[in-house]
Symmetry: C2
Amino acid sequence: MTAYFEEFISKYKKILETELATAIDKLEAPLTLKDAMAYSLKAGGKRIRPLLLFAAIDAFGEKPETGLQTAIALEMVHTYSLIHDDLPSMDDDDLRRGKPTNHKVFGEAMAILAGDGLLTYSFQLIANDPYLDSDKKIRLLHLLSKSAGPEGMVGGQVADIQAENRNLKIADLEYIHNHKTGRLLTFSVMAGAIIGGATELELTLLEKFSGHLGLAFQISDDILDVEGDEGIIGKPIGSDNGKLKCTYPSLLSLEGAKTHLSSHIEEAKHCLAQTNLKTDLLENLTELVAGRDR
Amino acid sequence: MTAYFEEFISKYKKILETELATAIDKLEAPLTLKDAMAYSLKAGGKRIRPLLLFAAIDAFGEKPETGLQTAIALEMVHTYSLIHDDLPSMDDDDLRRGKPTNHKVFGEAMAILAGDGLLTYSFQLIANDPYLDSDKKIRLLHLLSKSAGPEGMVGGQVADIQAENRNLKIADLEYIHNHKTGRLLTFSVMAGAIIGGATELELTLLEKFSGHLGLAFQISDDILDVEGDEGIIGKPIGSDNGKLKCTYPSLLSLEGAKTHLSSHIEEAKHCLAQTNLKTDLLENLTELVAGRDR
């Protein structure tokens, strides 16, 4: 990591986390609901999605702060999806990033409502953004809802549930990941491009970039699940495998998965190189995604 | 009911129901998810919220069809809230409008995701509405998310859960209803006013109107729960009471609740009379809400 990149990450993670807390604080809502929403927002992680958004805005020479409300909204949508995915009727996970999952702390009803609240509030934050004009906000809200809804993340989660204990082909697995995690990662990049004022060509190249990035992200996650250290990633190693879920290593072998990962990283970088944008932060994030310390 | 009002109801319910089905049909999403979303949307009801929206647009002399996408979105948000409220960890209801609840048919995971999908899709539909300009769409999206989120419906549901088995004062009960059901009813009227091009004064009067209407709606529902016929409303009589929930009849006596209802209906009509709008449909809907056949 270059010093510039490290500084970017640490600066914007801090800004994001402060603003996430402020956004919850100022809600006029029952305290327990705010606590439950804040609990999972604070649980951390690398904040890859907001950082991608900030980096994409930076690529256009605009101030990343322009995307702050969208970044908060994006992290809230991601967090809602984790809370609902962890529920007993879904993945039934007790731990997330080494901490008890939301429903383990607040109970199932409050966890469902905290997720519902985060999802709904995210749209309110973008609609209320004082720094963007209505046309840009509508483009962001349309893309976010499409990326997170039945045609995106929710559809991917349904496909994932239906795939459990079934043998999948690589195309089925890519469908699931493209929807379950890919669409929101793509939104992260595209939202930055919309805020930055991208041309049609730039939008096309960045969409392609984010597609490769999303798959690299998932393959790397699957590899981590096989190789990782429980203490670092905060969930039992091989937990996906224990449930007979198909993964890239189980379909392609560990070495095959690593080759697949490298090829998506190269394709992603190739897309960036075709733009005339200042893409160093996006390139660094791509390498971070392929790494093992997230 | 006048013939004009009856025709209005039957015409716009039909348009709404056709468009709800079309909106689900055209989704590129897993079939089971679409089935689960459509199941609860088709389960019927009086469609009070979309009808209020259409009636409010009509009050400004505009074509109700201008609000069709918003009406669909609104009914989806309402339906998502019913699906999540019925879940085993919430109200644990097996029947809704005389039919098995969503999780009884599709399982708990799919019911949660069908709700998530309906909520998210509703924002997509408004953002994508080809008949409204971006400024109006942003106003609608902001008001909808605020009305449905932590400061509105989700907050009200949390307060409702926390109130179970506790003795409430009338002010606590009104807080719950103002948020849990009131805010979305207010949105129905205000969205029509925004689409119809209301002045600030008209917005203020219609907001006040919808506040009284919302409370009338809830009091009438509580009275129905004591007096109603199980076959008509499709859930066991006195089911709220069986769970030791406070209701208007339990706090004010049945007669007291009826007086309270009448006073809110009168206040609501008084607000309408202060506008110079064509409010006959809104008046008729107010009377329908106070009635017992919904």
